[in-house]
Symmetry: C2
Subunit: 350 residues, 2 copies
């Protein structure tokens, strides 16, 4: 059935029925003029929004609706995590064609609801609008600070160590694989087109999953903030190079990173080599890793954190007085690293 | 200059510079991973989102960018007002073509910022994404409750009086005038095409302004909530008929309204008559009035409110035990009123 046959109010009524209000901090969810949230006593409220646009951020060809919903939530929660907060509730603003298949929309909303619950909050409201163009999935997440503090991009000082959680590059490699015809199979597993069958197949699925279903680093952000471990923090959504430039600009400092210490994902390494491309360039200019990049004055505190969280945290360099970002190659040569990350409108500028 | 020539980061950097953080309850505005709000102590947080889609909610032909920004804010604040709250901060999520004129985008953001300030809050963040399709302006507003209470759609009981603020229908008439070629002139005043010159011109501009620049009823919502005057409330965004059905459904009651008591705007009356159409049908099935429709048990309290606010509040009928909405005509005949309001996807359903 198409949305135009079902009607907006039927869809929203059924939506409120299927996804009842839940969550410790939700007083009123879907169905009224606004949602009502009750943040933990005394905490401040964090607010962020991010959208996934058809044929820009995703293609219907390779993005299953459920993962589209999951991802729209996760990328927003990643921003809350980068501020050191905890998510409270999500709004979903959907712009879709009247010809949309209702079943696919349900899968999308189920993905939103499911991912919101997994991340400790719930879907509390939203909006549905028709559009003659492609689909826009716009999610807003409200969060709460921890101990009234938040982690900002500003605050890093020369001499601070620079750290990165997890491994980078898997998502960018996953996107290339999807664009070349790889896909998740509806029943589990994944489909590999002819042209990719000579490549390192066992590592492909992890890359595809990293792209479709990223993991925001809530526990890490909370610890960095609550225990005052980080002086500045950003999530790597547009590529390490660009996001590091943003952190440097906000803090009024520069950075120097070591090529040899970059935590590159095994999938990226294997596939970029198979494609005869430079894995480092691909990793720093790729995007959508959703790892946290942070500066810290205390290697000891970071070390204790490593012991508590089941997540690699790599020191990749340090903050410097000179502005700009320098990359120290494996050959010892120092080169300026430009903000090569993903940019929607062509020109780079930080 | 086009957005693709300027670049996303240049635009966002300049945006943070032009629109610095402001507002009593804003700790951190544009420029980091999320905004930080500090709601009044102990109050709950209201959260709502609404979008304006090109060629669905507006046409570039008649919607000046500044008014587009103003309206995107006002329609969201109207939802906060309908919950009895006060706005704290707004997020702007823009989906635009890379070919967009940067100057028009500045006018749009200026409209958002200006309207946010007029309504007692500020623009605190957002997102910019490219799109191959038309423009989508998605605004989210966070608000605070008043005395920890909120006005919901549910709560009306049979016997409660049913009230409407202001006058309805001007916006729907304004839209028809715009679609027929009327337009605001850049230097003030407005342009009237040949085909409309025989009509009641002096009343046209107010209708056009009502459509382009609606006024959310914050003071009224706050009073209805804080003084426990209303048992249920909704803002009339999709037409009186449809929104009244929604209020009835949420409250589990029906309503009976009197045609003779409906507060119709003078512009609607004059133009619908000039067009030889039924003003009542046009008024109840039109939309975007952004007046508050509420139920109350106490005519006395409403009367005292009338004295304090510079805003008409009309008793248009009452809540009933029987479900559905009945319209009592000037002839005394009672007819069922269907949810005729605006619906994005064809079918009506409440």
């Amino acid at each position: 059935m198409r949305l135009s046959e079902l009607g907006e109010d039927f869809f929203l009524k059924e939506l409120a029925r299927r996804f009842p209000t839940a969550g410790e901090h939700v007083v009123l969810g879907i169905g009224d003029d606004a949602a009502i949230l009750d943040p933990p006593s005394g905490e401040r409220v964090l607010l962020t929004t991010d959208s996934l646009v058809e044929d820009v951020h995703f293609s219907r060809k390779w993005m299953p609706p459920r993962f589209l919903g999951r991802k729209a939530v996760a990328v927003n929660v990643s921003d809350i995590a980068a501020m050191g907060g905890e998510p409270l509730g999500a709004l979903l603003s959907l712009t879709v064609s009247p010809e949309s298949e209702v079943e696919a929309l349900w899968q999308l909303v189920e993905g939103v609801d499911e991912r919101a619950r997994e991340l400790g909050m719930s879907l509390v409201g939203g909006n549905l609008a028709s559009s003659p163009g492609g689909m826009v999935v716009d999610v807003t997440v409200a969060g709460a600070t921890v101990r009234k503090r938040a982690l900002m991009r500003s605050g890093a000082k020369p001499g601070d160590g620079l750290y990165l959680s997890g491994k980078i590059g898997a998502s960018a490699t996953g996107l290339k694989l999807l664009e070349q015809g790889a896909a998740l199979a509806p029943g589990g597993g994944f489909l590999v087109p002819e042209g990719l069958r000579e490549g390192p197949i066992p590592l492909a699925e992890a890359c595809i999953r990293a792209h479709l279903d990223p993991e925001p680093r809530i526990s890490l952000g909370r610890a960095l903030n609550g225990k005052r471990i980080a002086t500045a923090c950003i999530d790597v959504s547009d590529g390490l190079a660009l996001d590091l430039h943003r952190l440097c600009r906000a803090s009024g400092v520069g950075a120097r990173i070591e090529e040899a210490s970059l935590p590159l994902s095994p999938g990226l390494l294997a596939w970029e080599r198979a494609w005869k491309r430079d894995p480092v360039l691909a990793a720093v200019s790729g995007g959508e890793d959703y790892e946290l990049l942070f500066a810290s004055r205390s290697e000891d505190k970071v070390e204790r954190l490593r012991g508590r969280l089941d997540l690699p945290i790599t020191r990749i360099g340090e903050m410097t007085e000179e502005e700009g970002v320098a990359l120290v190659g494996r050959d010892g040569q120092v080169r300026p690293l430009s903000p090569l990350g993903w940019n929607h409108f062509g020109k780079q500028a930080v």
